[in-house]
Structure formats: C-alpha cells, structure tokens
C-alpha cells in the first residue's frame, strides 16, 4: 500500500537548515494498521504530510495507494483519506453539510455522498448530530467526525495524525475500537501517528519508531518489546534484603536467568530473561532460605522501555517537556 525510499525533508528558516526528516524508508502492506511512534518534533507529521501530497519531499520517492507520489499526486489524493492532527472540520458548518461536501469533493455523486454520510454517522456514533453545528460537538464527537471525513470515499488507505490526542481515556479506547473496526470490516489500511505507547500497543499490527527524523526501530509491538532485554521483577523483602540479594545473585542466579540485580532499601529489582519462570524460582529459593517476602511483582517491558532502549531517552520525558 505504501513504499517509500529515502524520503527527506529540510526546512529553511532564517538561514538555518533544519532536517525534519532525514531519509525514511518504509513499507506498509494492504490491510495493516501501522503506528508511527515518536516524540513531538521527531518528524512524524512531516513524513505524513509528504505521503499525503501536502508537502513535497526534498529528496526520495514513494508509491502511495498505487500511485507515484511525485508523478501523480492527484491519483494519490483520490485513493487516500487523511485526518490531520487539528482535524479539519469547519466549526461554523453543520455535521451533515461537512460530510456531504467532503464526499462531493471526492467526486461522489450527490445521492452517494448522502448515503455514505448516513453510513458513517452510524459507524462512528454520530447519529442524531447531523443538524448540529460542528462547534457544538464534544471533543470526542468532533474527533469521530474528523475520522468520518477521512473515510467518506471509502479509501483503501487512511492516514490518521494523532487520532486520539486530547481525548479522555474513555473516548480514546472508544476511538481505538472504531479504527480497528474500519480495518476489520473494509480491510482499510491505516497509517497512524501517535506518541501514546498504549495506543500503538493496543491498536497497531506493526510499529515504526521515529526519532530525530530517522526510523530507529521497526516491528510488531511484541518483537519490539523483546528487543528490550528481559523482564523486570520487583521484590519487597520483609527480612534481610542483603541476604536475599546474595542468595539470588549467587547459586540461584542461573536457575532464575538473572542478568542484573539492584538493591534499594527493602526493594530488589531483578532483570531476568523469562519473568514467568523466574517468579517461581525466586519464591522457591527465598522460601527455602527462610527470607520473608512482602510482595513480588513482574513487570513486562512496555513500548516506553523500547523507546528508552532504542533512543536512550524516555518518550514520557519528551511528553512532559513538550
């Protein structure tokens, strides 16, 4: 559905050249939901704007939905849907007017545009809102309308830029369901950007991690998580922490698959190869040595840990600073 080679975009401002995207190669198969994950300013939106014909790449080439990006941008436009981060609906217009106008701009005949508007209102829980002005919609409703606008012409490929930013957790989960359903029912390929790890994890078949204008990792959520070495087990020791540490670090270490252990007050933090097996072994060993345990917790790596591993920085820090 998408193949891109060496996409690059530089911006010039006040004599300074900023390389927003420095050579991105990517490919997306039909019917995939691909997440483009990265902190703010990593080049996600710039890449998306290039792939949707809004921005001409400084270098590189791509085929999007069967049309050459540079040679036939009009062909690309007909076959894709695009939902920008800021949405794109006119607050002074009515829901129905926007949907029908959008359909008509995508060359649907009037009757077909009206039919599609009705179908999408159903699919995206916008029933009964057709005569409402866009500015009176709630955040979640408006975002669902944005998505509907990107789907009026039943494109085989839809780009969603930060589809759930600014939504409350409930609306976000609800939006994930809608997006997954669009793919499941129509086999629509979805390419979305996000800086929410939960989102990439819950929704995407495959993830591309972008940082500073380059793709730094790629794979399914599980593959990426596996790249982070091991699971983490946190133990709160009721008895002697130092003794527990010694037991686990010495003889028992091999059985547990221990890679690293860290003691802090009454807490031990162990990095292990396989958390499930290690959990049992740890309990058995400590019990055998009569070391009292207050609690034990298994923590599997999240995409946040993946991000930390591949970029050396935490995605959450970035969000906090942005």
């Amino acid at each position: 559905m998408i193949t891109a080679k060496g996409l690059r975009r530089t911006f010039r401002s006040r004599k300074k050249t900023v390389e927003a995207v420095r050579g991105v190669d990517l490919s997306v198969a039909d019917g995939e939901i691909v997440g483009f994950l990265g902190p703010n300013g990593a080049g996600k939106t710039t890449t998306l704007r290039m792939l949707t014909t809004l921005l001409r790449p400084t270098a590189g080439a791509a085929t999007v939905a069967g049309h050459d990006l540079l040679g036939d941008p009009a062909g690309v436009r007909r076959r894709i849907g695009y939902v920008a981060q800021a949405g794109g609906t006119d607050s002074g217009a009515k829901v129905e007017e926007e949907l029908i106008q959008q359909g008509r701009l995508y060359r649907l005949p009037a009757a077909e545009a009206a039919r599609r508007a009705a179908v999408l209102r159903d699919q995206l829980d916008l029933g009964g809102l057709e005569d409402r002005l866009v500015k009176t919609l709630s955040g979640g409703q408006r975002r669902r309308l944005d998505i509907a606008m990107g789907l009026v012409h039943e494109p085989p490929l839809v780009f969603l830029d930060e589809p759930t930013t600014g939504l409350d957790p409930q609306s976000r989960a609800n939006m994930w369901e809608h997006i997954a359903r669009v793919r499941d029912e129509l086999n629509t390929t979805v390419f979305l950007t996000t800086h929410y790890l939960e989102e990439a994890d819950a929704l995407c078949d495959r993830i591309l991690v972008i940082d500073a204008g380059e793709i730094v990792a790629e794979g399914t959520p599980d593959e990426l998580k596996r790249r982070v070495s091991g699971d983490i087990i946190t133990i709160e020791v009721g008895g002697d922490t130092e003794e527990a540490r010694r037991i686990l670090a010495n003889g028992a270490g091999r059985a547990i698959g221990l890679r690293d252990v860290d003691a802090h007050d009454q807490t031990l933090r162990l990095t292990v190869t396989d958390g499930d097996r290690a959990l049992l072994a740890i309990m058995r060993e400590l019990d055998g040595a009569n070391v009292e345990l207050a609690s034990i917790q298994l923590h599997r790596p999240t995409l946040d840990d993946v991000f930390l591993t591949v970029t050396g920085r935490s995605l959450r820090d970035e969000q906090g600073g942005a």
């Binding site: 436009r77 800021a86 609906t89 006119d90 008509r104 701009l105």
Partner: protein, 254 residues
C-alpha cells in the same frame, strides 16, 4: 467541468455559512451607506469646482466611488476568514481532496462577489432614493467593475491570509496597503483636482483607473479611453490576483 462542480460545492458551503451569520453582511454595508448619507452631501457644491466633469451631480460622482470602496474594502478583509479556516485545518483537509486548487479559491471568491453585488445593489437603491440618476447600461458596466474588483481583492486577501497565517500580521499589512490605495484612487475627491505630483503619484495606483472608468460609465460615456483603460486594468489585476491565489493554494506550506 469538474472544476465548476468543485467551485459550486465550495461556494455553497461558504454561502450557507455566511447566511447563518448575516450580521456581517449588514455591518459591511453600513460603512458605505454612512459615507453616502453623511459625507456625500458635503460634495454638493464641491462638484461644481473645475476638475470635475461638467454637469456631474454629487450622487453621480460619489456612488461609483463608494461602489469601488465597497469592492475594495468589502473584499480586502475576507483573508481573516481564511486564517480561521486554515487554523481549523479546513484548508489542509480540502487540499488533500482531489478538488481543483483553482476551485478552492474561486468558490470562496464567488461567495464574496455575490455578497458584494447584493451590497452594491442596496447602495444603488439608497443612491436612487437620494436622487441618483444614471443610465442603466452605465450602472450595469459599473457592476462589472465591482465584480472584477471583488475577484481581485478577495483573491489577494485570501492569498495574503494563507501566506501570513495570522490575523495579527494580516491586519496591519492590509491597513498599510489599503489606506494609500484609497487615498490615491480619487475615491473621495477626483485626482484631476490634485496638484501635479499627487496626480502623477496616483497613476501608479491601478484602482485610480478603475474609479475613473466607473465615473465615466455613470455619466453614460461608454466608448471613452477611461472606461476601456479602467476595464483593462481591472481585468489584469483580477487575473494576476487569481493566479497568485491559486498558486498559494497549490503550494501552501506548514
């Protein structure tokens, strides 16, 4: 053909939105009517001065000027609307559709033209009530001028709005352009009574020719050089502004 459909679709959407808030259309009309009613009568004796076409009534002098003013100022500030649309992402959303770029501009411009023609008709009726007498053909010709002016100014304003992308820079920019254009166009008093240097200076202002041409038309002089020059200049300015506007819609960035 497709471009016509696209233009119509954009026009319809914009018009529906405008009609939802007709207050702006009425406010836009108040200014020329106030000028006409409260400033126009001051010209009653001024039009007898040398430099005015002999036999001109103040209404014949002032109504065409106000039509130009309406065309210029009524359309000059439409760019504010497009900054708001740009901020909401409407422009970008439409740029990803296959819609013709020319239509994205012209659909909006057409809405402004229709609004201005309606406002001009109201102004004309007020003028007639206040004693304006002008030949029908001349008035029709004047409306052609108004349409061309509106197309030019609206396209210019949209293009500028999309380039600057901020109301805060658009307002001073437009004001600094519009004031000299207004003063040097001879809208308030004809440039023929100006001292030589001012008259010469006004000749670089394309709208001066438009004002002159419209005044001739209102007097029933059709074949004159002023009318043709005015029409030619108006067409050239309109074409240039539409070309620029379309270009901006095609390449708008960020």
């Amino acid at each position: 053909m497709q471009a016509l459909t696209d233009t119509w679709l954009i026009f319809k959407g914009q018009m529906v939105k405008s009609l939802r808030n007709p207050a702006w259309v009425i406010i836009g009309l108040m200014q020329p009517i106030l000028y006409f009613a409260l400033f126009g009568p001051l010209l009653q004796n001024v039009v007898k001065m040398p430099g005015f076409a002999p036999g001109t009534t103040w209404q014949q002098f002032f109504v065409p000027a106000l039509l130009v003013q309406l065309g210029l100022f009524g359309a000059a500030f439409v760019g504010f609307g497009i900054v708001a649309e740009w901020r909401e992402g409407v422009i970008e959303r439409m740029r990803v559709t296959p819609a013709s770029r020319l239509s994205l501009l012209l659909g909006r411009v057409l809405r402004d033209v229709v609004t201005l023609v309606v406002q001009s008709l109201v102004l004309l009726v007020v003028g007639v009530v206040f004693g304006l007498r002008a030949p029908v053909a001349g008035v029709a010709l004047a409306f052609a001028f108004v349409v061309l002016l509106a197309v030019a100014m609206a396209s210019f304003s949209y293009a500028l709005g999309l380039v600057l992308k901020s109301e805060d820079s658009l307002a001073p920019f437009l004001n600094s352009i519009m004031l000299p254009v207004l003063l040097l166009s001879g809208i308030l008093l004809p440039m023929t009574i100006a001292p030589g240097w001012l008259n010469d200076l006004s000749k670089i202002n394309p709208f001066r020719y438009v004002v002159d041409g419209m005044r001739e038309a209102f007097l029933g002089h059709y074949g004159t050089t002023s009318v043709w020059t005015g029409l030619g200049v108006a067409i050239a300015v309109a074409v240039a502004c539409v070309a620029w506007g379309t270009r901006v819609f095609r390449h708008e960035n960020a």
